[in-house]
């Protein structure tokens, strides 16, 4: 029967034969769960009892939950601190590293190495750094200079930046490499023309380099924003004694979802939180893609 098919028909048969398992996979493991999560968000269910229809109850509960608003705020603080800081740092490093040839590969390796580490392992290393005297490295160094101790993870004001630092640190190397690739893609002739015109380095930077790097910048902003909005591993591991603490000062949305679903077993409420996360991610990426398109 197969022999009688035209070449075009054979192609269709092959294509669908290749796609059969993947299509099944995406349907069952991606699309069905997405729909299911949205459905559960309208239900009341504690995993053991019956699933009952709750309408918008979970969303109303979320709206009136002071913890949720604290978590919402934290999530955006991670985003609004993390993204600009890592963007500026990685650009400055890449910009200068690009101008150096001496031991270039070695320096690049030093900056990239943290990207190859696991978030959980490094969260524990940083957590150790942050301990009080005589344990923590940072406070030991401060003490040896006679500087007063800093409470890092126990303070409601310092804890969030302290948790964010290793997340920024680990992602920096990736962004540096992407920026350097972007810098290399700018045609040398632009710089030569600027040189002939006698334009200063600052003008070259703001008039040539940064505008031409725009696609790279947008890519890095989108990529790192999504990462910071989904922060979990670092927070969970640096505050295991009181996840998201002290007093929810470090709790991001993903940790709240984990807590609600797998410690509180309030599946409907947790699902509503995941729908909120999905919406936030969607809006943030759409805004940023829009910025990329304009001009």
């Amino acid at each position: 029967m197969y022999r009688n098919l035209t070449i075009r028909q054979k192609q269709i048969v092959w294509a669908w034969a290749f796609l059969a398992i993947p299509v099944l996979f995406y349907t069952v493991i991606r699309f069905y769960p997405t729909g299911n999560a949205i459905l559960i968000s309208f239900q009341d269910w504690n995993l053991l009892g019956d699933r009952t229809w709750a309408g918008l109850e979970n969303y109303e509960k979320l709206w009136n939950d002071p913890v949720f608003w604290k978590v919402f705020q934290n999530t955006f603080v991670y985003l609004l601190l993390g993204t600009p800081i890592s963007l500026v740092l990685s650009f400055v490093i890449a910009y200068h590293l690009d101008k150096l040839r001496f031991m270039h590969g070695f320096l690049r390796m030093l900056y990239f190495l943290p990207f190859m580490t696991s978030a959980v392992a490094m969260a524990w290393v940083w957590r150790w750094f942050y301990q009080d005297v005589p344990i923590g490295l940072f406070n030991n160094i401060l003490a040896s200079f006679g500087i007063p101790q800093i409470k890092f993870l126990q303070s409601t004001t310092n804890a969030l930046p302290a948790v964010l630092a290793p997340a920024v640190w680990a992602g920096l190397g990736f962004q540096v490499i992407i920026f350097m690739a972007g810098l290399r893609a700018i045609p040398q002739s632009y710089y030569e023309a600027a040189k002939i015109d006698g334009v200063g380095w600052f003008t070259v930077l703001t008039q040539i380099t940064i505008p031409l790097l725009r696609p790279t910048i947008v890519f890095i902003v989108v990529f790192s924003s999504i990462g910071f909005l989904r922060i979990f591993d670092h927070v969970f591991n640096m505050t295991t004694n009181n996840p998201g603490g002290p007093l929810n000062a470090t709790k991001p949305l993903v940790l709240m979802i984990y807590d609600t679903a797998f410690n509180g077993f309030d599946m409907g409420y947790a699902a509503a939180q995941t729908v909120v996360l999905f919406t936030i991610l969607l809006i943030v990426s759409l805004i940023q893609l829009r910025l990329l398109r304009s001009n």
Partner: protein, 293 residues
């Protein structure tokens, strides 16, 4: 979810172009080099302290010196003799390896089909797969958990692996790279009487090896360090992966910091060693995957 900037692949190569290692000439260049060098040293300090502490005796752990006075592998012996880390390590290797192989096969097969075949439904399949990039994993963990519970997949390798066996990111990456495989090659192979499966495997796949390597690095690293889903789906200590195990180990009462650092080092050193061996290759892969994916 992420728009790839329109940077030609050549820039990945340009990044690695070896140029003469000119010594810095003027003061400005020397200063720039020094500052970048200091910054780079600071970047690797957390890793250096982790490894250094894992080699220290308990009495020396809280000294700030980087080089242990009397290095010892006692901590490693202790942690490995305990047995748990050994199993977590094995679990992580198995899971990351199988997931990587699955991604290489399926992502490239789907990418190839979407790129080189013309058939009804092609656009819909492509858009559907691409749209899954917008769905965060965190939204799916609850349904995945319920699914695993009803099929008895909890606390098993399959349960840990099934969500990541194919990725839209990998499919999209591979599709981009198959664009560079000339249609003439495929036509010629067809005339030679190869069937479509053979053409994909023997003609197209060898031509996208760099992309496959880039994908392999991303998938392996991603699964080696994955935390949220393995944390949810496993509940017996024997089934933990390294990150889940380390997290629980660090949280135990009275566990010494040098032992936590040893556990952290065990989970980090393999990827660092792989990176140091294949450095140029990995950086090229990261640029390719980052810009094309």
């Amino acid at each position: 979810m992420v728009a790839a900037p329109d940077v030609p692949r050549a820039s990945a190569e340009a990044l690695l172009r070896s140029e003469p290692a000119k010594r810095p000439r003027n003061m400005g260049q020397i200063l720039r080099w020094l500052l970048l060098f200091i910054g780079g040293i600071l970047m690797v300090m957390p890793i250096a302290y982790m490894i250094s502490t894992s080699l220290k005796w308990p009495h020396e752990v809280y000294n700030v010196n980087l080089i242990p006075e009397e290095p010892t592998i006692e901590n490693y012996t202790y942690v490995l003799e305990d047995g748990r880390f050994y199993w977590w390590f094995v679990n992580s290797i198995i899971i990351a390896t199988i997931t990587t192989i699955c991604n290489l096969l399926f992502d490239s097969l789907v990418g190839y089909t979407l790129c080189k075949f013309r058939f009804p439904g092609r656009t819909i399949v492509f858009i559907a797969i691409l749209s899954t990039l917008m769905i965060p994993t965190e939204m799916l963990v609850i349904p995945w958990y319920l699914m695993s519970q009803s099929f008895g997949w909890l606390d098993s390798y399959w349960g840990i692996m099934f969500p990541g066996l194919m990725t839209a990111f990998g499919t999209f990456l591979m599709k981009q790279f198959f664009e560079s495989v000339p249609d003439d090659f495929i036509e010629a192979a067809r005339i030679d009487g190869l069937n479509e499966l053979q053409i994909w495997w023997t003609v197209a796949m060898p031509l996208v090896k760099p992309a496959l390597a880039a994908l392999a690095i991303f998938v392996f690293l991603g699964n080696w360090t994955a935390f949220l889903w393995p944390l949810i789906v496993t509940n017996s200590v024997d089934m933990y992966t390294i990150p889940v195990g380390l997290s629980g180990f660090g949280d135990e009462a009275d566990v010494a910091w040098e032992l936590i650092m040893t556990g952290a080092a065990i989970s980090t050193i393999p990827t660092l060693v792989v990176f140091l061996i294949f450095q140029r290759f990995i950086i090229r892969g990261v640029v390719m995957a980052g810009l094309k994916g």
